[in-house]
C-alpha cells in the first residue's frame, strides 16, 4: 500500500506503507472572508472569517455537511454590527442538547468550532452565542 508524505525538504512524495503524513508544516484548510452585508450562505467546510465593518449580517446560513467528521471554524474579525449564522438543520449545543438553531457573533474574536455527524452540526466550542 502507498503512503503519502509531505516534508518541507522533499515536498510531496509517495513511499510504502499507508496513510497521509504532513510533516514540518500545518495543514491550512480552505478559508473564506465574508464582508458584504448581503452575504448569505457560508461554506459548509473549512474556515469562515466574518467582518461586519460594512454593517450587520443577519442572514448568514450554514448548510449540513454530509461528511462524517467534517469540521467548521467561524470567527468574527471585526465588529461593525452583529452577525447571525442560522443552521440549515437544527444541531447540537456544546452543552449537549439537540436544539442548536443559530450562532450569534457580536464581538470581534467571537468564534464557533463545529463538527458534523453527517446529518447535523455539533458545537464543540464557542464564544458566539448559541441560539
Amino acid at each position: 500500500m502507498p503512503k503519502v508524505i509531505y516534508s518541507a525538504s522533499k515536498g510531496l512524495y509517495q513511499t510504502s506503507g499507508s496513510g497521509v503524513e504532513i510533516g514540518d508544516v500545518s495543514v491550512v484548510e480552505a478559508s473564506e472572508d465574508v464582508t458584504l452585508a448581503a452575504h448569505t450562505a457560508i461554506a459548509a467546510y473549512g474556515n469562515t472569517v466574518i467582518d461586519t465593518t460594512l454593517g450587520e449580517m443577519a442572514g448568514l446560513t450554514l448548510a449540513v455537511n454530509s461528511n462524517v467528521g467534517a469540521t467548521k471554524f467561524i470567527t468574527m474579525s471585526a465588529d461593525g454590527g452583529d452577525a447571525t449564522v442560522t443552521l440549515g438543520v437544527t444541531g447540537v449545543r456544546k452543552g449537549g442538547t439537540a436544539n442548536l438553531a443559530s450562532l450569534l457573533f457580536d464581538d470581534a474574536g467571537d468564534y464557533a468550532q463545529l463538527i458534523s455527524d453527517g446529518t447535523k452540526w455539533i458545537c464543540i466550542s464557542a464564544t458566539a452565542t448559541e441560539g
Binding site: 509531505y6 518541507a8 525538504s9 522533499k10 515536498g11 510531496l12 499507508s18 496513510g19 504532513i22 514540518d24 508544516v25 500545518s26 495543514v27 491550512v28 484548510e29 480552505a30 478559508s31 459548509a44 467546510y45 473549512g46 455537511n65 461528511n67 462524517v68 467528521g69 467534517a70 469540521t71 447540537v92 456544546k94 452543552g95 449537549g96 439537540a98 463538527i115 455527524d117 453527517g118 447535523k120 455539533i122 464543540i124 466550542s125
Partner: protein, 256 residues
C-alpha cells in the same frame, strides 16, 4: 523548499516555498459509520407440567456470550433439587431456573429471563408471550454461534451480531446503536490504540429512542470506557498522546 497547494482550478501543484494548503475545496477526512449489534437468542418456551412428559425437571439448554463462554441453563421443578444435569458442561456458568409444578409457557419464560439476568452480566432479557429474547450485550459476531436447545424441547434460534470495533486510524466514527429494545443497557465496542502522537479521533454517537448506554472500550486517560447515553447525541474528540487517548471534548459522554 516545496510548497503544495490543492485548488479547484489547478488540482494539486507544487511550487517553491513551504507549506501544505487546501484552498476553495473541502479537505475530507477519513470517516466510518458503524451500527454495532450484539447477537440475540430467541427462546420459545413450552408449558411446564410436572405430571406429564413435558416436565422441564433436570432439562437444560445452553447459550454463550460474545467471547464464547458458555452458560448452561437448567430447571428445577417444585424445589426437587436434582442438581446440575449431566448435559451441562463443567466449565459452563450454571444458571438454575426454579419452576413450580404447573406453569404456562409465559410463566416459564418469565422465570428464565429473571434467572439469566440475575446470573449473567453479559446478557439482557426481554420476555413477551412465552418467548424470551436474550440479548448478548457485547457487540460483534459471536465466537460460538451454536444454537443449543439441549433437551428442553424449546426452540432456540440465534441472530448473530455485527462488527463492533472502531478503526483507530479513521479520523471520525459515527456509532448508531443496533438493537431496538428499550431495556438493553450496554453495547460494547472497542477502540484500538493510536499509532502516532497527536493522532486525532472523533467518536460520535447518534441518538436513538433506545434507553441504552453505548460503551467504547480502550485506553483512555481517566479510564477504560468511553460511555454515551443512547437517547442523546454524543461526541468525544480524542488525541493519542503516545500511550492513551486524551479526551479534549466530551458532549453527553464520559470516561471512567
Amino acid at each position: 523548499m516545496p510548497q503544495v497547494t490543492i485548488s479547484s482550478s489547478k488540482g494539486l501543484e507544487q511550487t517553491s516555498g513551504s507549506g501544505f494548503s487546501v484552498s476553495d475545496v473541502e479537505l475530507v477526512r477519513s470517516n466510518e459509520s458503524i451500527t454495532p449489534t450484539g447477537a440475540v437468542y430467541t427462546v420459545t418456551c413450552i408449558n411446564e407440567d410436572a405430571h406429564s412428559t413435558t416436565t422441564l425437571l433436570s432439562k437444560s439448554f445452553t447459550i454463550y456470550d460474545q467471547n464464547g463462554a458458555s452458560y448452561g441453563i437448567y430447571f428445577d421443578v417444585g424445589a426437587t433439587n436434582p442438581g446440575v444435569p449431566g448435559a451441562i458442561s463443567a466449565t459452563d456458568t450454571k444458571i438454575e431456573v426454579e419452576l413450580t409444578a404447573v406453569m404456562t409457557a409465559t410463566e416459564v419464560a418469565t422465570a428464565i429471563a429473571a434467572a439469566v439476568e440475575a446470573a449473567s452480566a453479559e446478557h439482557e432479557c426481554v420476555e413477551v408471550a412465552g418467548v424470551v429474547s436474550i440479548y448478548v450485550l457485547d457487540a460483534g459476531a459471536m465466537t460460538t454461534d451454536t444454537e443449543d436447545a439441549g433437551d428442553s424441547e424449546f426452540t432456540v434460534t440465534l441472530v448473530d451480531g455485527s462488527a463492533g470495533d472502531l478503526d483507530a486510524d479513521t479520523e471520525a466514527s459515527l456509532i448508531t446503536i443496533g438493537n431496538d429494545v428499550g431495556t438493553v443497557v450496554l453495547q460494547s465496542v472497542q477502540l484500538a490504540d493510536g499509532s502516532s502522537v497527536g493522532q486525532r479521533k472523533n467518536v460520535m454517537f447518534a441518538a436513538s429512542s433506545t434507553s441504552a448506554t453505548i460503551d467504547v472500550g480502550g485506553n483512555f486517560r481517566g479510564g477504560l470506557l468511553l460511555s454515551s447515553e443512547a437517547t442523546k447525541p454524543g461526541l468525544a474528540t480524542l488525541v493519542w498522546d503516545g500511550t492513551k487517548w486524551v479526551a479534549q471534548t466530551l458532549i453527553n459522554t464520559s470516561v471512567a
